[in-house]
Structure formats: C-alpha cells, structure tokens
Symmetry: C2
Subunit: 359 residues, 2 copies
C-alpha cells in the first residue's frame, strides 16, 4: 500500500527520501517552547538535529533564546545566517579551531564549554583574535560519563582558571543529567555554585540538556536554560522515552520495497547509509507506519532487511513505505536535503546546510 503523498514523493524526488511535515515541526516547536516558558527556563535548542538555519530561526521566532551547536562548522553556518547567540557545548582544542572560534566571536555572541585545563589554556587565543571577552561554561558530568568534570571541586577549580584567564569570562555550568539523575545534578550544582561564590564568581548560565529530559525541565533549581534538540522532529526513541507521540514524529523516511525474494522477507532501498546503524537501544531499526509488525532487522549499506514473519500485511515490490527512524538526528545527518510537506501538499526542499561539518 502506497499513500498518494508517498507516490508523489517517489515520482518527484525518488526514494529513499526524508520528508518533514511542517505542521508537525511548528507544533513541536510551539509545544516545547511553551513547556520551557511554563518551567521558567529559557529554551536554547540544539541544532544538531535539523542543521538548518531556517528551522533555527523558526525556533528563535517562537521564543528560543539562542541556539546550541556541537561543532564549530555548525556554528559558522548559523552565524553566517545571522544567528548571534550560540553555545558550542563542546571542548574545542587546537590552533585551527581557535582561529575559527575567534573569527566567529568577532561577529556573534559565543559561549563554549570546557571540562579541563588544556581546553581553557587554548581559549584566550580565540578571545585575542576576536578582540572581546569569550564566555566559557564548565561542563559537569552528572552521570553519563561523557565529557564533564566528575566533582564540584574540579568544577570550582576550572571556574577559577577561566576567570583568571586573559579574555575569558566564567559563564556558569553546563549539565546533562540522566533522566533519573536530577537530584544528584542538583547536589552537584548547589555545591559548585556555593564554591564559586566563595571566590567572588557567579553563574549566569546554568544549562541543562536533552529532549528525553523535557519531562524534567525546570526541576533543577537555579537552571537558566534547557538545550533540547530532537524535539523538533522526534523519533522512535522519544516515543519510547515518553516525551512524544507518534503524531509528534515530524520526519519520515520514504523508502521503496525493492525485493521480496522470500515470502517472509523483503528489502528496502534504505540501508545503513540512510537510516544509520544507531539503534538507540531499541529492537529493529525503525517503525514502518504501513506495516507496524514488520521488523527492519538489519542493514547492508544500501539495503534494509525486512523481517515479515510476524507481519499480517506484507508489502509488494514497488510499494513506498514511511519509516519513523529510531534516532532522527543521525538520519538527517546522512543527507544534503529534506523535502518539506504540509499534510498532503509538497512545499519544496530544505538544505541540511550544516550537515557534514565534522570540525
């Protein structure tokens, strides 16, 4: 079964094709902005999900207070489009990056993260290039064991290092609590804040992160902002996390069934080079809306292996199906553009302008 819109997408663009429904995108933007407003924290959306200046501007128009980027190259694309309040939530290291950060800071208000002295030691170079102070937040680990200092004492020490560095300003703390770790995050933050205050410093930015954490937004007393990314599109992971419904999933991959060599199996023209091998901890690699009992069992690079054993309805070769991906951020990153629709109407294409900015 192929919907009329799917047939039209396949005819005009071919498959596999990422399609975003702008009605849903706008609804997601409005809903999460309202949730941040209600919780009394600013919304600083992470653009890693959509990588589009146009969508970042929609988020800002709806009330977002600046944006978050993970890579300098993403920030460059966003600053080029006129966005001027950007947090790069990442440890930036090296002369090449300092030169680019300095150039960025000369034309946009930049904040960067740091969790170690090597990073802090490099940043004055960027500040010197820009000719004005650079804001630096201390990244704190609150359970993920990713980046971030592990103790309040280290956070306090780094805050002091930042404040003592030429051209740097201590901005505050960046946290990314686990979904169940907000009490620990509060304890960490309270201790770090009290510590920096004894040294005459204060935290003007206290930033929490994550779309799955939208159910916790505002829980950290003292938080000034939240950095959700995925909420603009949502995906199977967000539905599993209980922060979105299937109707909130704004991006589908439209894919053609290209082979049915066995009765219990089939092949989609979307493989790991479209949907990626990121499972997000879920079983199977996406939900097929037309055949929810079918399982995308595994991938070759350009083949999606369909297990139809438990599926009461089975697609024919040539059918175009719609897939809700497990993890939408990494899927968008695979393509140069997405197709925009409203309901059944095709609007046009949107470049994924900051895609492929590895650096």
């Amino acid at each position: 079964m192929t919907t009329p819109l799917a047939a039209k997408i396949a005819r005009e663009y071919g498959t596999p094709c990422a399609v975003i429904d702008m009605d849903r995108v706008e609804r997601n933007i409005a809903r999460i902005q309202a949730a941040c407003d209600a919780a009394g924290v600013a919304n600083r959306p992470h653009i890693k999900t959509h990588k589009s200046p146009m969508l970042a501007k929609l988020q800002i128009e709806a009330g977002a207070h600046g944006i978050t980027c993970q890579k300098l190259g993403e920030a460059e694309v966003m600053a080029e489009a006129g966005i001027d309040d950007i947090l790069i939530s990442y440890n930036l290291i090296g002369e090449e990056k300092m030169a680019r950060l300095g150039a960025l800071q000369a034309r946009a208000n930049m904040t960067v993260a740091a969790d170690n002295s090597t990073v802090i030691a490099g940043l004055p170079q960027a500040a010197a290039i820009s000719g004005r102070p650079l804001s630096v937040a201390v990244e704190c680990d609150t359970g993920r064991k990713r980046a971030g200092v592990e103790t309040p004492a280290e956070a306090i020490a780094l805050a002091r290092e930042i404040a003592a560095s030429k051209g740097l300003v201590f901005a505050g703390f960046m946290l990314y609590p686990t979904e169940t770790g907000w009490a620990e995050a509060q304890k960490f933050y309270d201790e770090a804040l009290a510590g920096v205050r004894t040294h005459g410093l204060d935290a003007t930015m206290v930033s929490t992160g994550g779309t799955p954490n939208l159910k916790n937004v505002g829980k950290l007393k003292g938080a000034t902002e939240h950095r959700p990314g995925t909420y603009i599109y949502n995906d199977r992971m967000q539905v599993a996390a209980g922060v979105a419904t299937w109707d909130d999933c704004a991006l589908n991959i439209y894919s053609t069934v290209v082979s049915r060599a066995g009765p219990d199996r089939g092949i989609l023209d979307a493989g790991s080079k479209t949907l990626t091998s990121d499972t997000g901890g879920l079983d199977g690699h996406g939900l097929i809306l037309e055949h929810p009992e079918a399982r995308i069992a595994r991938f070759a690079e350009e083949h999606g292996f369909l297990d139809l054993a438990r599926s009461n309805t089975r697609p024919n070769v040539g059918d175009v199906v719609r897939i809700v991906p497990n993890h939408v951020c990494v899927v968008v990153n695979m393509m140069d553009e997405v197709v925009m629709v409203r309901g059944e109407e095709i609007i046009g294409t949107l470049p994924v302008a900051a895609r492929g900015k590895l650096r």
Copy 2:
C-alpha cells in the same frame, strides 16, 4: 603522543579528519588488479567505498574493466567524469529513476541488476528514453538473503523475461557468494546457465562480489568479473577477514582526545557522526594505532567513549590519534572530503564527490 604528521593535519585541517595515504591506495589498487588478472577475471571495482571519480580512474588506468555503483546518483557522478562502463548492482524502480537511468544510458554503457518482474517491467522505459538497448543481469541469492532470486528456476524465468522485453538485453548473472559458499554458488550458476542456454540465451557477464571474497576470486568456473570495493582503503573488518594487513589500511581518522575526566576513560572528537555505529561484527569501534589496547567502547553523536582500563599507555587531552575504522565505506560516506598524503607529506584534499547520493 602525536606524530608530526598528525600535528600538521590538526593544524591545517582540524580534527576529526579522514586521511588517505596515496602510496597505500596505489599499492592496494595494483595488488588487487594483479590478483584479478592472475585469476583470469576482470576487475569491476565497487566505488561505494571511495565515491571519487579520480580514484575510479586510477582503478581503470590500472586495468579495471568498468566500475560498479549501488545508486543512480553515484553513477551520474561517475558518468559525468567520463567513465562509460557502469554496473548498477541494484534493483531500480519508479518513473523518476527510469528517466535518470535512460539519460545515463544515452551517454554511458549501463548494466543494471534485477531480481524480480516488477523491476524488469519498468526498465524498458529507461531503454526507450536512451534510444538503445539496456543490459540487465539477474541478481542471484547465494546465501546472504539480501536481494537476489533464491533458485536457478527463478533466475532462468527472469532471464527469459528480460530477453522478451522491448529494449532489454539479458547480460548474465550477478552473484555475491558468502565467503564459504562458493560451491553452492557454482551449483546455482551452473544450473541457471544450463537453463538459459536451453532457451537460446547466454551469459556474457558473470559477476562475483566482495573484498573479503578476494581470497576466493576466480573460484567460480565461468565468472567473468569480480566487484571488490573496500580493498582500495581496507579496514579492521578486512584485516579480520584475512584479506589485508594493517599496512594495507590506507585511511585513518585523525581524532583529538578532548576530555580525560576519569583516569580509565577519555573522549575522542569522533563519534557516530564520524565513525558510524556500524561495528562490522567486531568488538569496539576502531583500532587506535597509538594505543592499540584502548577500546572505543561506544559513541554519542560527536563523542567517542574511550575505555582505557586495559591500556598501558594513555593519551593526554590534546593528543591527536590515528584510528583504523571498522568499516571504512560507511565512514567515508560521512564526509565531504578526505585529505591525501604520501608518507609524511600532505598533498591536498579529495572531494567525496558521490557522497550523499541516496537516490
């Protein structure tokens, strides 16, 4: 420990950065061409690995007989660069694709694969647009349960359908035996060939595939060509498969250690948006040449989680390390360009011109 070349790459390009050693690339091209020559089969390299017309031309200059693409968009990039013998080893379906295939076939010699009647029914449209016959090979499943008919009887029936279709020419059979399945592939092929011959047809293309299968190349009696892809760069999977040594691995990801928040762990600036979550069935996500006992345990999108518990040497923040990826084809697909070196000398950048050609 950062090598002098790694320091130079980081300074000139930043990290993460894909670096290919052209001496190794050329050696890999020559070695596998010689292996195909010795086995008496033509080499039709799969360009999915490098996605570069420049490298495809090096393969052809070294003796390759045409190329293989998985996507129409890849073939378009290659034809645009003047390559005129192209196999698209994939079921192509839909008007949009037939129009593009017709335009391609008008200027390059195209062969496509088919494993079902729906695909075959669409192809005459492309032939009509091109104004000349289109070669079609029947894809046979020989154990992978991917695309491909499961029985010789189906292969024979499809060959007859192709031969009876206006504008189509039956080219032969495309196989992709498993590494241990060449005896079964021989049986399948012999039966299919005998069958088509009783109907007055013959197979001029008998194509086998896979870099791990290079140890089997020439084993299929009657094979006319082989389609290896990964051999141009090699990776951890090919070393594990016994078809390459570490010295044959021509592509490294240069990545900076950006955090060491705990003694037993660290963070690389290469995550799933650089190295991908394709494990290739291996433990860990790549070999770090400077710290072979370190384990790239898992990924966030832009963070590689280093487990250093068993590593006798541990990197410092700011160190630039070289990583041999598990599966190089999907890694190259993440970036718009790679940096070329010869030994310690940087030559310049090479666009991954056919990257992101999902369709």
